[in-house]
């Protein structure tokens, strides 16, 4: 992997944890995060659309069955959790579930495969291989998870204002839990903290789980020959974590939007 000095383990780890960033300050773009997330989005859209176009009610193909199972699963979850009327929620939930799941799935690709290929390509193109960074899993980038949570947050506030009106929304923030005008400011502080905690916890939960998972893969990869018996059980456990985190993100999104739709 190195063309010169020995690679220390700390360098190996920090190399695998660095994003390919272009630009500086506020205008840094994490090109690898953007690229892989857009690629996974396209995989989702193209494969699901292909099934929708060629849907055959009589004799479904295997891929059509799989897609139908996923859609039915999301449909059942949304129906049991969402207590309002909206045409946006179910497609939103499906998008969140499948997109986050696909992005998380990239974590199961062996640690060195894609970064090493990127280094080879970078070396062939004239760049110094040591400074070619490629972090494959978009959801291990805090920017990605916060972007997803920010979208949900904007929808939450948007729907709250649309259903309850700006006045009703402010009223809800200032009259819960103590309904006296003396404590409106206190209620407001509590409610704003609770309101902000929702998207923040969504983002950090997904980021924390995926970052820790990837880091453990990297640490196991440092063990030389002993990585073989360790990678397999961890990868198996990680399959559960991936699906669970995508599911939880979706369920919490639906729950928060359902709470935004209800008026007391």
């Amino acid at each position: 992997m190195a063309s010169g000095a020995e690679l220390t383990s700390k360098e190996y780890i920090t190399h695998h944890l660095t994003n390919w960033s272009v630009g500086e300050g506020f205008w840094t773009w994490h090109v690898d995060t953007l690229g892989w997330s857009i690629l996974m989005g396209l995989v989702f859209l193209i494969s699901f659309r292909a099934v929708a176009k060629k849907a055959n009610a009589g004799v479904p193909t295997k891929w059509q069955c799989a897609v139908e199972m996923v859609v039915e699963f999301v449909n059942d979850t949304v129906k049991s959790t969402f207590h309002g009327q909206s045409a946006l929620i179910a497609p939103l939930a499906l998008t969140i579930f499948v997109w986050v799941f696909l992005m998380n799935l990239l974590d199961l690709v062996p640690v060195d495969f894609i970064p090493y290929t990127a280094q080879m390509i970078g070396g062939a193109m004239g760049y110094d291989p040591h400074h070619v960074y490629m972090k494959v899993v978009p959801t291990t980038d805090l920017n990605m998870t916060i972007a997803l949570a920010l979208g949900v947050f904007i929808l939450m506030i948007g729907y709250s204002i649309k259903i309850k009106g700006v006045g009703g929304f402010i009223k809800e923030l200032t009259t819960q839990p103590f309904n006296t005008p003396w404590l409106y400011w206190f209620n407001f502080i509590l409610e704003v903290v609770a309101l902000l905690a929702k998207p923040l916890s969504l983002a950090l939960r997904l980021f924390g789980n995926l970052y820790a998972g990837e880091l453990i893969f990297i640490l196991i990869a440092l063990l030389g020959v002993w990585q073989l018996p360790l990678h397999f059980p961890w990868a198996m456990f990680h399959i559960l974590v991936i699906t669970l985190q995508a599911f939880i993100f979706m369920v919490l999104t639906v729950v928060y939007l359902s709470m935004a739709h209800e008026k007391h």
């Binding site: 920090t14 944890l17 950090l204 980021f207 924390g208 820790a212 880091l215 669970l244 599911f247």
Partner: protein
């Protein structure tokens, strides 16, 4: 310099350890309640299992945030 490094290691250990403590107690209680209610009403077991995973994800969250911050401090700072 070694002092800072030593303190960093202790900080990471506290972050991960205390988070794990709370999560373990939470999961134990959650699992116990689930088994109890499944034993009382076996027909509700599948629906309760789904809800159990949802709550499990919520319990996991803060501990995982702690683990991520700890590992970040350890390796990338």
């Amino acid at each position: 310099m070694e002092m800072v490094l030593g303190l960093k290691l202790i900080a990471v250990a506290l972050l991960i350890g205390l988070g794990a403590l709370g999560t373990a107690i939470g999961f134990g209680t959650l699992g116990g309640k689930f088994l109890e209610s499944a034993a009382r009403q076996p027909e509700l077991a599948p629906s309760l299992q789904g809800k159990m995973f949802i709550v499990a994800g919520l319990i996991d969250a803060i501990a995982m945030i702690g683990v991520a911050i700890g590992l970040y401090m350890l390796f990338a700072m």
